[in-house]
């Protein structure tokens, strides 16, 4: 643009963009790999004119101009092509000649990413680095009376229970009378949370399923994975591996036609049914799969036409009220599998969580409650929902656990916590903190993508284009040219890796606390935090 031309409000310079490309002319071989890999076409071949004024010494010769042309990389400044900082260009550059840098002071773009009156949508997370869970310390370490345990040598029992667990009295009565017992599953306390087939690429899904199968079959770790809303591939439904899968049903009921029809052919029961009422990243919003990702396969599994966006309604429209919905859906889902499969709802953490919980305590078929906090992730949502809606998980979970303690049902109705666990990489510490605050299990999604498949997303608004099918890592894309980048076997390997290291780390946390016989659910006396208000709110120790 020339300096005397009029500019539009959205005319930006590179300095206005959050991610700025640094390109080194000397190192660049002009191979063009970066421009071809860039998921958002943020860079293009640039033809640059260079004028050099050659001024000889002395007065005899006059200065002259030399004009030359050189080629290189130019960053686009149109907000529609703003660089997302994925750094794929750097990854493919043979000479390390290019890389994106984040400029914290450049915020202008924020005011211009709503062109055409469309507010920004994206995938990802809240984009906030704060984490209360990271601040929690484990400080009740036995120093005097009892030797701390040896994480490497002791026998540890880490498994947890999902399902409605009867009180001791009920259980004995039921045994004596040979009555119906609610189904209960003994599982590993770290669950892979619902990420749908559709949101994830087929390679990613396959990799996760293989990893889970390996953990179960070869390592004896009863790890479970939720499908998310979007059904389940027909062959998995009819395989023995279905028992490792938690089938999710959500307000769009996508994929459930296929599932219901497969019931008579199922060799094993699924681990559980999760009824999704809400998601922590965008409470009050339904699921969303944008048209970019609805290809032939996805359309077939979900039972919809191709190439249309699939927004799920914010609530289960077929029901009159939440109470009725919860009760009836739990009932019908239980009935569909002959009352052999635990059925539990998943809600967004919110100040109404307790109301749902109270409802469940009185429903003998409710098998638990999954609560997803504001730091949860999503494949597609409005930026505003992700950044500003929701409730932190720690206090919400704690309130629910305390409510169960008051009614004496803390063992009967397991709470599953999610949302921001491991957001800064501290998976085991965050999980242990939530378990000691009262969670029976935790579920993780983003961590699985980051550790299992190298997702580039971060809390600094990096990448986050999961919604439009251009995932540069092939994790959340339905484009075979992209997802073939992801080797499912390697994903499976990574899943096994991070589960094993989680297992060791969790033992390194609970062994010094003298715990090994059972998962320390609700062991709040072990926790401390240096924030007085947080300590008071969570009922843990204030330590400085």
């Amino acid at each position: 643009m020339l300096s005397d031309r009029p500019i539009t409000p959205s005319t930006l310079g590179v300095k206005d963009l959050p991610w700025q490309i640094k390109w080194d002319k000397d190192l660049c071989t002009q191979c063009g790999r970066c421009t071809s890999v860039c998921p958002v076409s943020a860079i293009e071949l640039g033809v640059f004119r260079k004028r050099t004024i050659v001024t000889p010494a002395g007065l005899r010769k006059k200065p002259s101009n030399e004009h030359s042309i050189f080629y290189g990389i130019r960053q686009k400044t149109d907000p529609a092509y703003g660089c997302i900082g994925c750094s794929m260009c750097n990854m493919v550059c043979p000479n390390n000649a290019i890389q994106p840098n984040r400029d914290e002071g450049s915020t202008t773009m924020k005011f211009h990413n709503d062109r055409g009156g469309q507010p920004r949508t994206r995938g990802g997370r809240r984009n906030s680095e704060e984490s209360l869970l990271d601040q929690i310390k484990f400080m009740r370490i036995s120093m005097l009376t009892d030797p701390a345990l040896d994480a490497g040598r002791h026998e540890f029992s880490l498994n947890t229970l999902i399902g409605r667990i009867q009180s001791p009295e009920e259980s004995l009565k039921c045994m004596a009378e040979n009555g119906w017992k609610p189904p209960v599953r003994e599982i590993y306390p770290l669950i892979i949370g619902g990420m749908s087939f559709g949101a994830l690429s087929p390679n990613m899904w396959e990799g996760l399923q293989m990893g889970v199968a390996y953990l179960n079959e070869e390592l004896g770790m009863p790890v479970r994975i939720s499908t998310g809303e979007g059904g389940c591939p027909p062959r998995l439904l009819r395989s023995k591996f279905l028992k490792y899968v938690i089938l999710q049903i959500a307000s769009g009921y996508f994929g459930w036609d296929e599932i219901i029809h497969a019931i008579p052919e199922m060799k094993v029961d699924p681990c559980a049914i999760e009824i999704k009422y809400g998601q922590g990243a965008k409470p009050g919003d339904g699921g969303l799969l944008m048209w970019h990702k609805v290809n032939k396969l996805i359309a077939a599994i979900r039972g919809v036409p191709r190439g249309i966006s699939l927004p799920s309604p914010p609530t289960h429209q077929t029901q009159y009220s939440i109470e009725e919905s919860v009760a009836k859906m739990i009932q019908s889902m239980s009935m569909a599998w002959g009352f052999r499969v635990p059925v539990y709802p998943k809600i967004s953490a919110s100040s109404t969580s307790l109301a749902v919980l109270n409802n469940l305590t009185r429903n003998p078929y409710a098998a638990g409650l999954a609560i997803d906090g504001e730091d949860g992730g999503t494949g597609a949502a409005y930026n505003v929902s992700m950044n500003h809606m929701g409730h932190p998980i720690a206090s919400n979970l704690r309130d629910c656990y305390n409510a169960l303690v008051t009614t004496g049902q803390q063992n009967e109705l397991p709470l599953i916590a999610g949302g921001g666990i491991g957001k800064s990489g501290n998976l085991a510490a965050n999980a242990a903190a939530l378990i000691m605050l009262g969670a029976s299990a935790v579920q993780v999604g983003k961590y699985v993508m980051q550790a299992g498949a190298g997702c580039l997303g971060s809390e600094k608004d990096r990448c986050n284009v999961c919604n439009i099918g251009i995932c540069p890592k092939g994790i959340t894309s339905q484009d075979p040219r992209l997802y073939r980048r992801l080797d499912p076997e390697k994903v499976a390997e990574r899943v096994v890796d991070f589960y094993l290291s989680f297992d060791t780390e969790i033992k390194k946390i609970i062994a010094p606390l003298g715990r090994s016989s059972s998962l320390p659910i609700g062991m709040s006396d072990a926790l401390g935090i240096s924030d007085r208000d947080a300590a008071e709110r969570l009922g843990i120790k204030y330590v400085v």
Partner: protein, 377 residues
Amino acid sequence: MCRLFALTSRDPISPMRAIDALNVMKEGHDGSGVGLYLNGLSGPFEELKECPILSGIFTEAGLRRLDQYSMDKGFKSKFSILYAPDGPPPVGTPVRGTYAAIAYSVPKGWENLSEAEQGSRLVQMRLDLKKMGEESGDMMVFSFWPDTIVIKEVGDPLEIGEFLQLDRNKDIYARRILAQGRQNTNYAINLYACHPFFIEGVASMTNGENTAFIPIKEYLQSRNITGYSGYQSDSEVFTHIAHYTTKRLGLDIRAYKHIITPLSDSEIAEHPDRAFLTELKRSCRKLIIDGPNCVIGCLPGGRMFMTQDRKKFRPGIVGGKDGIFGFSSEVCGLNAAIPDRDKSKDFQPMHLDTVIVGPDCKEIIQCSQTDQLPRQL
């Protein structure tokens, strides 16, 4: 670590025998407190077998308030031992007043109440009195139950025993004695934090630390059972779990270990009672302890037991001869109390074992968690 010593004998014996054994194990406790549980009493108390006995420590004003309270409830004192020491207490022991054990006749219509109702009323009265005492500092109440005396005091066990002249008064000789020498650790010295703990005929004492204390405490408190309160010590939960197991769930004491330290899943899969044990493990998950602990307890009917945590970090030994058996946290205590026993028959329970000696004091019954359980349902 606290030292534990218990005796079960066919004939009544002096509580000092247990205290002497504690004294031998002295290097393990710091003399910061002693607790005694006496059951199977002799003398006048034996003749008043059905009468609940209140034991505690009272000031003059406390005794007067107690009289008033018990009269209001229709309980009449039938026989009592009131001991107000003349001399100064041993160093470290506060001057308190009267150590009392008072047997009461029950009010009219009591026999029409169900056993459970009678039990919870007695517990409630004990709690009322405890609360009254905590408000004004004039009484401390440790038990209120037939054929039961509980004594607790701060100080060295032997000195306290001599101070209270436990040897002299034949009326407090007992057939079953639990004695604990306290090693003060986590909690300020509070008599209510001293073992043995007692509820409705179930008494127990423990050494070691229970790291799962908070979740267990919260679970017991939420059971809605009168008396599941207090918890000034992390060991009180062991007594209440034993009470819950035997009285509330109606299970044999052999199930106790399956509740506090359940078998691993692979062990359960091999067990003849696998369905029952799986259920028990799941429904009583909140009562799983994470010791290390050694528990010695006494049950209604006069059975005494010892069981170990699964990690088996705490020593514990049972031995004796026909007519008398000792349960001890150290072998030296047992040697002091019953020197002339056949030591080759001593038994140290391991991570799966529960040891029981019946009131007949004939033999040591060893039960492993891998054994089939008696039919319970």
